[in-house]
């Protein structure tokens, strides 16, 4: 069975000045994949996930979303980003807009939906995450967990093919982590393709079908949760896992 490849990373290198962060990365992300990215702080997890929607421009190599090389000058990056959603550690909701407007702005302004359609879709999604009563509120009035769920809804409103998460629960108080993770689990069940940078090993083990361990500028080790968590091959991964236990 051949799976549909959504993103393909080819010999991708990223450096900041002379500081090489990622070296010659190759990988493919298939439809339905749920990839957990783990690794020590500063190893380039954020950098990697941010190159996938070109928030960081790779220094060398190529990244294909379907068959389009997004690192190419002529690529319509705005069009591609509409299909590659992203959820940030610090939510990045727009404080000048209501929750509803936060969600509907992009679908409407990019021409995907009419205002009416966008609002209908937004209300459905808000209903689903149990925040429909916040539609007309401003972000500043929400708790961290609520903000992150809205941020996920905002990304979902664009009907993305893949969602990128960069440590979505790291900025949350412990009691709010659960509500965000359970929403992400729901999405996983629905078959959403996701790439998640996370320190929640429990979540990675339970939900992911692939785990990537980033270290020393490369994907040091990759495999199923069982392979990575129960039978770590490299010493670095063993050390990493023993440190966080």
């Amino acid at each position: 069975m051949t799976k549909e490849c959504i993103i393909k990373v080819e010999n991708m290198t990223k450096s900041f000045g002379t500081d090489v962060v990622l070296k010659d990365i190759n990988t493919e992300i298939y439809k339905g994949d749920i990839i957990a990215i783990i690794g020590p702080s500063g190893c380039g997890k954020s950098t990697f996930i941010r190159t996938l929607n070109l928030l960081e421009q790779p220094t060398a190599g190529a990244i294909y979303v379907h068959d389009v090389d997004i690192t190419h000058k002529k690529a319509d990056i705005n069009k591609i980003r509409q299909k590659v959603g992203m959820v940030f550690q610090h939510f990045n909701l727009f404080p000048n807009l209501t929750i509803l407007d936060n969600i509907t702005l992009a679908p409407v302004k990019t021409g995907q939906m009419s205002q009416e359609e966008a609002e209908k879709k937004a209300m459905e999604l808000l209903e689903r995450v149990g925040l429909i009563d916040k539609a007309r509120a401003y972000p500043d009035t929400l708790s961290g967990g609520q903000k992150q769920r809205i941020a996920i809804v905002r990304a979902l409103a664009m009907n993305p093919e893949i969602l990128l998460f960069d440590e979505p629960t790291s900025a949350l108080d412990p009691e709010m982590v659960g509500e965000v993770l359970s929403l992400m689990k729901d999405l996983a069940k629905d078959g959403m393709t996701m790439v998640v940078v996370t320190h929640e090993m429990g979540f990675a083990r339970e939900v992911a079908n692939r785990v990537m361990f980033f270290d020393e500028q490369i994907i040091k080790e990759e495999g199923t949760p069982e392979e990575v968590f129960d039978n770590p091959k490299s010493e670095r991964l063993q050390n990493f896992l023993s440190c966080i236990k």
Binding site: L55, N78, K79, N92, L93, N96, L97, T110, M158
Partner: protein
């Protein structure tokens, strides 16, 4: 409450200063006494030339140059200078109104007054000379001069335009400095005097409508050279130096320089009631302030709009360049604009825009001033906004761009609204600075609020009331603006905290 109290105390202190003691008689009794004294003159006049001969001598003579004759006289009255050298007729007017001043008997040589015309404008020069000859021949000129040079009060106008003129030949623009009675001065909100009426009679003969432009004395020749005015009529003496730059018509009268000194008598100290009457009621002088206030508000409003438009544009270009590296050329242009505007005085910018860029265009002064102040303010608005944009969390850009919004959409819907809210106090401050900055509009002869105060000051020889009134009016405008901005700020804040459902 505290504010009002502070204001009143300030007013009282100023009143005391304003009613300072009388200054004694000048120690100048003849030309020989001028050495080592402080001599007041009007800048660019023949008196200035005479006085300049003494300047920097061993005795330490100092020449104080004023842009208006009236200001020189005021300085003499309160002891800032020891004497004033000025043309005879204005001098007579000045002492008529100020019993504490006298003219010394000694006189300088006779001079001839003539009309200034641009070099090369031979046809106008010919027309003016012809008209002038007719006015002298038929006695009109003498009639006008006799009307203004009198021991009694001058009432009404001397010359009436013949009926049935259609001004088919357009306008005749006359540049002058209307603080030089009896040749030109403000009365009843218009400029009158020998020169003004003579020029009108000449214009009538040419079948043109006379338009009088009031400006600094030393700007008159430049204005005529540059085509801003057709004629310069300002009690201007024919001198060799001036002839190098400009042509003169045939002379229309003679004059001489005289020395005015304090005679030791105490000037009439007006009661507060008289002062108020003189400054505001007499001659309908309050109308200067009304007109001035209107112009100041108009200039400020248009300038703010222009400034905001330029500021937004430049800020967006610069921020886009900073964030994406695009728009290199535009960014470089914006950089040049910011450097020039922020590196030079607003007054010089105003003068350059009026006298250089719009030199030969007939554009309203209010428009020129609004444009100049708008361009000036735009630079400051731009940097305030750019600072606001750059200080916004990078996550706001990334959040919007990750959704597929373009850079432009991100700016418009996410970044600029937040920037506007965050920078509102700084922007308001810039607008307050702008309003006060418009006070230099007088340099292009625009009658703004400050200029209105100056006109009243030079007509009444009173400094206290006109200046305080103008200051208070500015204060009120600024206080209103601050209050409005505070309210707007509160509303914007409330918006974001408010939960509707």
């Amino acid at each position: 409450m505290k504010k009002k109290l502070g204001l009143i105390i300030t007013l009282l202190v100023l009143t005391l200063v304003g009613c300072g003691s009388n200054v004694g008689a000048s120690d100048v009794h003849s030309v020989d006494d001028l050495e080592g004294k402080k001599i007041g003159v009007q800048i660019g006049t023949v008196g200035d030339t005479y006085a300049s001969d003494y300047e920097g001598d061993e005795a330490g003579t100092v020449v104080e140059r004023y842009s208006k004759g009236n200001d020189a006289i005021s300085s003499l009255k309160n002891g800032k200078v020891d004497c004033v050298i000025i043309d005879e007729q204005p001098a007579k007017e000045f002492i008529k109104r100020n019993s504490d001043l006298s003219i010394l008997d000694e006189e300088f040589t006779l001079e001839e007054y003539a009309i200034v015309i641009a070099k090369g404008n031979d046809s106008l020069e010919e027309d003016v000379n012809k008209a002038l000859a007719e006015l002298i021949a038929d006695g009109t000129l003498d009639m006008i001069i006799d009307h203004y040079i009198t021991d009694g009060e001058v009432e009404g106008l001397a010359y009436t335009s013949p009926e049935g003129l259609d001004y088919a030949n357009g306008e005749l623009v006359m540049a002058t400095n209307a603080a030089f009675p009896p040749y030109e001065y403000y009365a009843n909100n218009s400029i009158v005097g020998i020169d003004a009426e003579m020029a009108r009679a000449i214009a009538d003969k040419l079948n043109k409508k006379l338009v009088i432009e009031d400006m600094e004395f030393d700007s008159i020749i430049t204005a005529v050279q540059g085509g801003k005015a057709d004629l310069g009529v300002a009690g201007m003496t024919i001198t060799e130096d001036r002839l190098k730059n400009i042509n003169f018509s045939d002379p229309y009268t003679t004059s001489k320089q005289v020395i005015i000194v304090r005679n030791g008598e105490s000037g009439a100290v007006a009661s507060i009631k008289d002062s108020i009457y003189q400054c505001f009621i007499e001659d309908n002088r309050y109308q200067y302030l009304v007109q001035g206030l209107w112009n100041t508000i108009l200039i400020s409003l248009i300038a703010v709009l222009i400034g905001v438009v330029i500021g937004f544009f430049v800020a967006v270009v610069r921020a886009t360049h900073d964030k994406t590296g695009n728009l290199k050329l535009l960014n470089a242009l914006c950089h040049v604009y910011l450097t020039i505007i922020r590196g030079t005085p607003a007054m010089i910018q105003l003068l350059i825009i009026y006298y250089v860029i719009f030199a030969s265009t007939n554009i309203s002064k209010v428009a020129v001033a609004a444009l100049a102040f708008g361009i000036n303010s735009g630079a400051y608005v731009a940097e305030i906004l750019r600072g606001g944009i750059m200080s916004l969390d990078q996550g706001q850009f990334e959040g919007a761009r990750s959704l597929g919004l373009t850079h432009g959409q991100t700016m418009r819907y996410i970044i600029l609204p937040q920037t506007f809210k965050n920078t509102l106090p700084a922007l308001a401050n810039e607008f307050i600075v702008l309003i006060k900055e418009t006070a230099i509009s007088g340099y292009i002869g625009l009658q703004d609020l400050t200029m209105a105060g100056n006109i009243i000051r030079s007509n009444t020889y009173q400094a206290f009331l006109p200046l305080i009134t103008v200051a208070v009016v500015y204060l009120i405008i600024v206080m209103f603006l601050s209050a409005g901005v505070q309210k707007l700020e509160k509303n914007l804040k409330k918006n974001e905290r408010h939960v509707y459902d």
